[in-house]
């Protein structure tokens, strides 16, 4: 069964550095998402992406965050200048269309030192 794949599985970065989290969504999916989950807390929406542009974003998704789909397969989340509070598990998800559920990747654990 097709899967959403994310790399790296764990990223350790110094505060203030830039990080790029990478995702390969399922190939025939049209909607793409990033969520984050701080340890022990609920999953929070960051941003959705459709038709090569951001369709919706949360208050968390400020100017330090950006997303790109540079080619037909990759979907990236960039954090320009990381803060301690950015430490979390980041999940990429994709969805085909309609009411089908979102399929989640295994996540990238981001640790900011």
């Amino acid at each position: 069964e097709p899967e959403v794949t994310q790399t790296p599985s764990h990223q350790v970065t110094q505060m203030g550095q830039e990080v790029i989290l990478r995702c390969v969504p399922i190939s025939n999916h049209l909607y793409f998402y990033w969520y984050r989950q701080i340890l022990g807390q609920k999953v929070e929406f960051l941003v959705s992406f459709y038709n090569n542009e951001i369709s919706e974003k949360s208050e968390i998704f400020d100017d330090q965050f950006s997303v790109e789909r540079p080619d037909g397969s990759n979907f990236t989340l960039k954090i320009r200048s990381t803060k301690l509070e950015d430490s979390a598990m980041y999940f990429c998800a994709s969805r085909r269309t309609g009411y089908q559920p979102q399929h989640f990747g295994d996540g990238t654990r981001l640790s900011i030192l």
């Binding site: 998402y33 609920k42 369709s55 919706e56 999940f91 559920p101 979102q102 989640f104």
Partner: protein, 115 residues
Amino acid sequence: ELKVEQNPLFLSMQEGKNYTIYCNYSTTSDRLYWYRQDPGKSLESLFVLLSNGAVKQEGRLMASLDTKARLSTLHITAAVHDLSATYFCAGVFNAGGTSYGKLTFGQGTILTVHP
């Protein structure tokens, strides 16, 4: 804005027993999803509930939706250890415009099934 609340947040069950997890949401939700998350792992889709009265079953799990009460339930029948995980409900809210499917999650219910 959609708010989703689950209870209980922690559930310790004995094998063989039945129990229900409740998911309340604050405003009209287009659809309701249930996900399972094992520790350190991703979220696995369990059920999609689209309309009032919808009931879905898979093995020992059954999910239902009451849109008038803004309530979904996940019922566990004759629990087994393998069901130990965190269960999330999530809704999609369409504020009269185009919905791109943003999921609003509940806090999650940590289920532990004991022998």
